[in-house]
């Protein structure tokens, strides 16, 4: 059954960090970044890919990117999972404990826009509902290379490849 609904555009004042702040962050964190990873209801698929980032093959330490176990030492909050309601408060407290300026990255289909779990009585279905998200890394789960690209994009060390595309449409047999 096909359903129709009104567009649900996120409020840009909450979700868009200012350009000046973004430039300042890129200047400060360009070559050194510490990540705090928080699982907010993930199936652990995303975690197994994130874990590979520190393996000898992907080795993000060579890029000056490290994981830390405390938000007080972190510059970037990496969130996975469909944001269960039980994790909203811990997530907000983690964000509050991080020193400014701070970055937030939504990882995987779940944190980006609900994925297979979506919005329900138990999940918010997207990270942008509670925190200002700087970068979205889609994929279920995203590959380690996609994660590296997402992190470098956040730091201004990579360019974005995808852009909103509005396609011309000509169905066959139409005038």
């Amino acid at each position: 059954m096909v359903t129709f609904e009104l567009l649900d555009e996120p409020d840009s004042s909450i979700t868009e960090p200012s350009t000046a702040l973004r430039r300042q962050i890129q200047h400060l964190f360009g070559r050194s970044l510490h990540i705090r990873h928080v699982d907010a209801g993930s199936c652990n698929g995303c975690e197994s890919e994130i874990k590979l980032l520190t393996s000898p093959y992907y080795d993000i330490h060579r890029l000056g990117i490290f994981f830390t176990t405390t938000p007080r030492h972190a510059d970037l909050l990496l969130v996975t999972g469909a944001i269960t309601r039980a994790m909203v408060d811990p997530l907000q407290r983690t964000y509050a404990a991080m020193p400014e300026p701070r970055l937030v990255v939504a990882t995987g289909a779940c944190a980006c826009d609900g994925g297979i779990f979506g919005r329900s009585c138990l999940t918010l279905g997207r990270l942008s509902a509670i925190l200002p998200v700087d970068t979205y890394i889609p994929g279920c789960p995203p590959t380690p290379l996609a994660l590296i690209h997402g992190l470098l994009l956040t730091l201004g060390r990579a360019e974005q490849r995808l852009h909103r595309q509005i396609l011309a449409h000509h169905a066959d047999g139409k005038a």
Binding site: M1, V2, C112, P138, Q160, R161, Q165
Partner: protein, 126 residues
């Protein structure tokens, strides 16, 4: 014994990926992500096969804010890259493409949109 390990390390060389300095091609069999070709899509003729098979509603029909026109949207953010839509599409308008650099700064950048012009009566039926 130690010499053996040294030789082994020397022969193996560097195993770390060259990415991001040079591209690292995905392994064989990597499915990638769906891509939509607006020229071949038959949504104007009432085809909604892909919209029906997509579990996370990454492919959906949306009402344009003017309230009259609709559009088919392929949104990569909720997409789980399962490939069901590619198998289901009768015209081959959808195909899987194995590119890995999908991160975006704004949710809108992950969308591919096919605009649609149809007569919509006041009760919402075509």
């Amino acid at each position: 014994m130690e010499l053996g390990w040294l030789l082994r390390g020397w022969r193996t060389g560097i195993v770390t990926t060259p990415y991001p300095t040079r591209p690292d091609p995905p392994p064989q069999g990597f499915r990638g992500r769906p891509q939509l070709d607006g020229e071949r899509c038959r949504i104007d003729d009432g085809c909604t096969v892909c919209v029906e098979v997509c579990l996370p509603r990454a492919l959906r029909l949306e009402t344009v804010p003017n309230g009259l026109d609709r559009r088919l949207v392929l949104d990569l953010l909720p997409c789980i890259m399962c490939g069901l839509c590619v198998q289901a599409c009768p015209t081959g308008a959808l195909h899987m493409q194995s590119d890995g650099e999908l991160a975006v700064r704004s949710p809108q950048d992950a969308q591919t949109i096919v605009p649609l012009e149809m007569e919509v009566s006041s009760d919402g039926h075509i």
